[in-house]
Amino acid sequence: MGRLLNEKAADALMERLQEQYDVFAPRLFPGTGCYSDTDVVRYGQISSLSEIVWDKKSEYSFKETLLPISDTVFYFTEDEVKVPDAPRKRRLIFLRSCELCALKRLDGIYLKNGFADSYYERIREQADFVWMCCEESFASCFCASMGTNRPEQYEAFARFTDGKLYLEAEKGLLKELLEECGQDGFGEEASLNAVYPEENQEKIEIPESLPEDMASHELWKEYAGRCIGCGRCNFVCPTCTCFTMQDIFYKDNPKAGERRRVWASCQVDGYSDIAGGISFRKNQGERMRFKVLHKISDFKKRFGYTMCVGCGRCEDVCPEYISYLACIRKVNQAAKEARTNEQK
């Protein structure tokens, strides 16, 4: 059982939530879109549940609620380093199914690939998640193909239907607060099912195995001429986790500063450069191959599940209209051809 909340009831719940949580959800940032006078939907802190944007796919993923674009690792003075304090409040994060699935990928890198990352861990432990059910699929989504259209597990879910917010929690603080709202007469008791798109318009097949020479296949050459290496595909991706360390110092006190980690992109110049002027993937075609094969194959070899969650954001954001879906289809075709040739 859950509760169906009108705006007033949702406000009452939010008031209670905010005593315990900073609440994050996809919301509108007016006037801060990519082009002048355009808006953007991305994740941010909300002060009212009515701010949640339900009818659009957020252009950026939820990952910045756990991994800030620029994250201070420590502050330094001449002979001291100090780690910034953890956020004081727990976080309640409203997110889509594909993103709950992406969370497992972030956990893979940040908690299970070598040492557990203490910065990610401390914010992750303070976070609770609410699955925002997609009433229908958005354009370019292919979550059904990736098996991420419904989360493997969830503790709470939300739906927005007929102007009302439905919330149901299996356990935890949200469950308690919803019960409290009921006792105080806010909202109506209801029982809705969690829904998810059974299929999307876009369908793809990820090849089970790739030919050994996939990396040197000529299909990658196309991207050498088309990709401009802006890195947007990485920045919108809920499963891209790369960062670069950066030291900065304060203008008014050059002896003090911060070491930060900032989001990095494997498509942007400098990503693989080492001392002495050596760089390992100079060509955008090679960089595309590096990214795409990670998403559909290399990550899986290490962790046992595919990295890409089929949100389609990279498809939406590319200024050169490079289609990731088309690329996967070409890879799939190449894999099929290689198998046929083998059988001959």
């Binding site: 360390m245 110092f249 070491r259 494997c266 990503y271 080492i274 990550f299």
Partner: protein, 263 residues
């Protein structure tokens, strides 16, 4: 809560050994387990961090041989004996002497590639009874680029050593690439020997090819890879090749795995 691996410790510079104008060894105070071929992230706040491989190991120190080629390393070179640098590590798997013990060992290294393998050369140089024989071929661009001259003088008496430079205006130096000297190595039983090849990617490819030509199998060869690393902890992603993280799974690889890695 897990330990914060990103916080560096201050380490005092015990000694600075100047090899060339742009390559110095910094002897850094460090007590703890460390293997040749592992690396530390060395940093100076304000300038940043750089991964540097361990080129020598002592009871209370590690040697870090640093090439002055970037923002961080330029700044490191401003520091003298008695001053301190920030470090964290060691990271990576490193070379394990057990892989080579009791065998005839051939080490082929080029330029700064000598650093990661120097600990292994030192170890078996000082413990000659632990290997059947030790052959070392070290290549540098020119006489002025030769690193570890003091160590080389000692190695002359400890092993079969060939130091070569690509080209030289000065007399008295062997010239030619390291690959030129591999075919003539006198190895008693190539099938039970072990090889270590470290250097620039192209050099490793051709040196390994020479060892294979000599009759070694891929399993008998080890290489060490150098890639960009911002964390050393399997997080930043820069060093990844396919499903392999050089910082976690390497930088030392058996050639069977190492040759399959694609950038």
């Amino acid at each position: 809560m897990s330990r914060n691996e990103y916080i560096p410790f201050l380490s005092r510079i015990q000694k600075v050994i100047r090899h060339t104008k742009i390559e110095y060894t910094f002897r850094m105070t460090y007590k703890g387990e460390v293997k040749p071929g592992q690396f530390f992230e060395v940093s100076i706040p304000k300038y940043g961090e750089a991964p540097i491989s361990v080129s020598g190991i002592g009871e209370d120190y590690v040697d870090l041989t640093i090439r002055k080629v970037g923002v961080v390393t330029n700044e490191i070179f401003e520091n003298q004996e008695g001053q301190s640098l920030y470090m964290r590590g060691p990271y990576g798997n490193g070379f394990d002497p057990a892989d080579y013990r009791g065998k005839e060992l051939i080490v082929v290294a080029g330029g700064t590639g000598v650093s990661p393998v120097k600990g292994i050369i030192d170890y078996f140089g000082n413990h000659p009874e632990e290997v059947k024989a030790l052959h070392v071929i070290a290549g540098f661009k020119s006489p002025k680029d030769i690193l570890f001259r003091e160590d080389i003088a000692r190695w002359e008496n400890q092993m079969e050593l060939i130091v070569t430079v690509d080209a030289s205006d000065e007399p008295g130096y062997r010239t030619g690439l390291v690959t030129k000297y591999i075919p003539d190595l006198q190895v008693s039983d190539i099938k039970s020997a072990a090889g270590i090849v470290v250097g620039p990617p192209v050099m490793m490819k051709f040196a390994a090819a020479e060892l294979l030509k000599k009759g070694m199998s891929e399993e008998q060869i080890w290489i060490s890879q150098e890639r960009k690393m911002c964390c050393g902890l399997g997080k930043c992603g820069h060093c990844r090749m396919g499903s392999t993280y050089i910082c976690l799974d390497g930088p030392v690889f058996n050639y069977t795995a190492g040759k399959a890695l694609i950038d």
